[in-house]
């Protein structure tokens, strides 16, 4: 393998957004195909998108009472009016196409008796519009896209390549540096266009539904290249994570009729969201659960954590086996509970980052030639709180859009340089990156166990930046995070070149510390309660001072925060009731 690889487009990440972008870019031609490289730190089909369970929101039954305006408004209201309204409209307009496109590609959508694609109820929607395939929607979407991508001979997969930095000339994207894990080689990749699809950062929390691989490496690469992260303080806590692992029980379980109960055997959501009950948006349900626990109406799990219960027993054997087989399996295996027979213990769990790399409505970042899609990106679809089933939608829609736009950009670059784009890499950047990862990390002299640092960081995030927050605990969290960051921890015990996961783990932890710092600073700075960000000391939403996005840049001395306006089209903010 040469130590420089050339591509027309590089895609970083092979989850839903990455695969959709790859197929979309591979289909754009002008007689000649583009040469697309997909780089992922895991093998393809191992990305966390496979764990998405419940559904993909889309308006399919406009002949039966659903309509796009309703999906747009539900999304904006769900976002607590921090979502960009033109972006929500773009999502809603484009997602039905994706559902039918996946059908053409072999997606095993669950069907109605008449052979049409079925949909189920989901939280925060006025119509049952979560399109599903049993309770393994993300898995099947990944499988369908991966299998379909194999049709294209111009998509090249680089499995288990750990990308470490973005190469750029001023503000123009030029490529990447990466480590090929199998042999440990440090490789430069040149490309005029790139798309970041590296997913969310939820592993900065201990109690988390995320895969172990969901660390903010992609976000951190962008930060180090001078780009902004947006709205990082908005972290979604999903109401139903099982204990003690944090593995997700899909919202589809409540969509199919599941109840949440406290130790008085009450359906407590009656008090908090009398209309939508268990199907209020996730931020509302998670806050209600914490209030129940604090009022002494929770259960104690044998791990010591307090929790509530999800009761599905009344749904009956047949419905559970047909529609919720996957989570029944999860309950039996990981919780020791068969949901057919008894309620299962659950607790709000870190599940999604509304924030991410700052992009415009087309997914373009602040750097020419670089786009971002999926959870890694923040194009502001979801504002302060995402509705369930809208994230797979976002991955599909902006996977396709960024793939197409990046392909057109790469084509125009090719044409203007008569077929031979010559990129001259900045050697200093490469030397700096080698110094960062090899001198400071691989041959680092730290004494503290990096895995201990990771544990302390994620436990701190659980304790200080959970469902309810206040100035005091957030400040304590920030202080602790900075102490950890400054402590002498960077070193790698494994000195082999080949498949050195100790090395990649330490690079991940380095990224986690910087990202966590930004989450905490954003949370301290936002002195209001909006969507998933609930401040005990500022319990009201404050549209006068905070109806705007947070931006965070990384400067020499640390993160610097700024604001960015929200785009409105038709809907004025009103009080959110469910």
């Amino acid at each position: 393998m040469p130590d420089v690889i050339d591509h027309d487009i590089v895609i970083i990440g092979s989850g839903l957004a990455g695969l959709r972008a790859a197929i979309s870019a591979a289909s754009v031609t002008n007689g000649k195909k583009l040469n697309i490289g997909v780089f992922s730190k895991v093998q393809v089909m191992r990305s966390h998108s496979v764990s998405a369970e419940g559904g993909t929101a889309a308006v399919l039954f406009d002949d039966d009472g659903d309509n796009k305006e309703s999906h747009v408004y539900d999304t904006i209201k769900g976002s607590d009016f921090l979502g960009d309204q033109d972006v929500a409209e773009r999502l809603v307009d484009n997602i039905p196409f994706e559902i039918y496109q996946l059908d053409r590609w072999g997606m095993p959508w669950s069907r109605r008796d008449d052979g049409r694609i079925d949909q189920r109820k989901f939280g925060g929607y006025s119509y049952p519009r979560a399109t599903y395939a049993q309770d393994k929607v993300g898995f099947y979407e990944m499988q369908t896209l991966y299998d379909t991508s194999l049709k294209y001979d111009n998509i090249h997969f680089y499995n288990e390549w750990f990308c470490t930095s973005i190469l750029h000339d001023d503000n123009n994207f030029q490529g990447l540096t990466a480590i090929e894990m199998k042999n440990g080689n440090f490789v430069k990749i040149k490309a005029p266009a790139g798309i970041i699809c590296t997913g969310g950062a939820g592993r900065i929390f201990s109690f988390s539904t995320y895969a172990y691989s969901s660390t903010p490496d992609g976000l951190d690469m962008c930060l180090r290249a001078g780009l902004a992260l947006k709205d990082m303080e908005f972290v979604q806590f999903h109401p139903t994570g099982i204990l003690p692992s944090g593995i997700l029980i899909t919202e589809g379980a409540r969509g199919e009729g599941g109840y949440l109960i406290n130790n008085q055997n009450e359906r407590f959501m009656l008090k908090y969201a009398p209309e939508k009950l268990e199907l209020a948006p996730r931020d509302v349900v998670s806050r209600s659960m914490i209030q129940e626990i604090q009022a002494g109406r929770g259960f104690e799990h044998e791990s010591g954590l307090e929790c509530l219960k999800l009761d599905l027993t009344h749904l009956g054997d047949e419905k559970i086996k047909e529609k919720l087989a996957g989570i029944r399996e999860i309950g039996i295996k990981f919780s020791g509970v068969d949901i057919v027979d008894e309620p299962i213990e659950i607790r709000p769990v870190c599940h999604y980052m509304m924030g991410g790399i700052h992009t415009d409505i087309d997914g373009k970042t602040e750097m020419n030639g670089l786009w971002a899609a999926g959870e890694a990106a923040c194009n502001s679809t979801h504002g302060a709180n995402r509705l369930g089933a809208n994230s797979t939608s976002e991955c599909l829609v902006w996977g396709r859009i960024t793939g197409e736009v990046a392909a057109k950009y790469a084509l125009s670059k090719k044409e203007s340089s008569s077929g031979n784009i010559s990129i001259t890499l900045n050697n200093q950047q490469i030397l700096d990156e080698e110094k960062r990862i090899f001198d400071n990390i691989f041959r680092g002299r730290g004494q503290v166990n990096p895995y201990e640092v990771r544990k302390e960081l994620t436990d701190t995030m659980d304790a200080k930046a959970y469902v309810y927050r206040d100035e005091k605990s957030l400040m304590e969290g920030l202080k602790k995070t900075r102490e950890l960051k400054e402590s002498a921890w960077k070193h790698v015990d494994d000195n082999s070149k080949e498949y050195n996961t100790n090395f990649t783990n330490v690079m991940e932890i380095d990224a986690m510390l910087r990202t966590a710092e930004i989450v905490l600073m954003g949370a301290i700075n936002r002195k209001e309660s909006r969507g998933a960000h609930a401040r005990i000391d500022f319990p009201k939403r404050d549209d006068v001072n905070f109806l705007k996005h947070t931006l965070a840049y990384y400067k020499q001395d640390g993160p610097v925060l700024d604001w960015y306006p929200v785009t409105f089209t038709r809907y004025a903010p009103v009080e959110r009731k469910y």
Partner: protein
């Protein structure tokens, strides 16, 4: 005719006499999900234990490194999985252990390895299910999957496995409806019964356990293996696909589907309840003409 399709050790026994009706029943039965495992019954019995974890160590590219086992003591609770203990050891005792892992919920297929001699997912195998309560010094052994070349420790090379998957053309081929008109969107009409015919085969998470347990793969690396062949059946039987011939030509080969000698170990080890042996036999019966493919190619719904 009339061979038995009771390959998986699960509850899908039944004679198969070659008509479509029966084929449907077989598929449907698999959908009933997992049986209750020991863990449900033993919920409160298991007490915290210290176990010995034996891990196979190798660095294939480094000749100085000899393969050997390292042993670690690690504590385990009722819910602790083999993956939990491996990561515990990696974090606090020996950072240099290499293994693959990601979702820790049996969806991503990363952590396949031989555990006590059997191919399993580490995240889906609980310590409490492997050891007996009265064993004073329980030991659990982790080794890399067989039939895959070594890279380092528990990490093996999956390139050949993914190549086999790609070769059987695992995607819908249907020239009639390749393009989609964004002005007039609609889906293929596919009944729940049509869906059930391929659904169990699409549970495959490409973890490689079946491939590692296949005695035919062990002797012929050109044999596509149970994973690829079951995916060939999955697309063959999907009413949206019309590429029977092309896919048949690929698997009807000297190293192809006929080499399977029906050991059934693939179906035994699948963590997701897929029955690749059944898929292979159904494909063969179609190739031989015992089973007529009366699949009606799905039509797009008219608005």
């Amino acid at each position: 005719m009339g061979w038995k399709f009771n390959m998986s050790g699960k509850d899908n026994s039944g004679d198969h006499s070659g008509n479509d009706n029966n084929e449907e029943k077989i598929h449907k039965k698999e959908l009933n999900g997992p049986k209750k495992t020991k863990s449900v019954e033993s919920k409160s019995k298991f007490t915290d234990k210290t176990i010995t974890l034996k891990i196979f160590r190798i660095n294939q590219n480094n000749e100085k490194s000899n393969s050997h086992f390292d042993e670690y003591k690690v504590s385990s609770k009722r819910w602790t999985t083999v993956l939990d203990t491996l990561l515990d050891v990696k974090s606090y005792q020996d950072h240099s252990i290499s293994l693959r892992y990601s979702c820790r919920m049996a969806s991503c297929g990363s952590c396949g390895m031989k555990i006590n001699g059997v191919p399993r997912l580490a995240c889906y195998t609980k310590i409490s299910d492997l050891i007996s309560e009265d064993d004073p010094d329980p030991t659990i052994t982790c080794e890399p999957l067989a039939n895959f070349p070594y890279i380092k420790d528990l990490v093996t090379d999956f390139s050949q496995f993914f190549n086999h998957h790609r070769k059987i053309m695992p995607y819908i081929q249907n020239t009639k409806n390749d393009t989609i008109d964004s002005e007039n969107l609609s889906e293929y009409v596919q009944s729940p019964e049509d869906l059930d015919k391929f659904l169990q085969f699409s549970y495959c998470i490409k973890c490689g356990l079946c491939y590692s347990s296949c005695p035919t793969v062990a002797t012929d690396m050109n044999f596509p293996g149970p994973q690829a062949l079951s995916q060939a059946y999955r697309y063959f039987i999907d009413t949206r696909d019309s590429a029977n011939k092309t896919r048949f030509n690929i698997i009807d080969d000297r190293h192809g589907i006929w080499r399977c000698h029906f050991a059934g170990s693939c179906s035994h080890v699948c963590p997701k309840g897929v029955d690749p042996a059944l898929g292979i036999q159904l494909l063969r019966s179609h190739l031989l003409g015992f089973n007529k493919n009366e699949k009606k190619i799905a039509k797009l719904r008219e608005k």
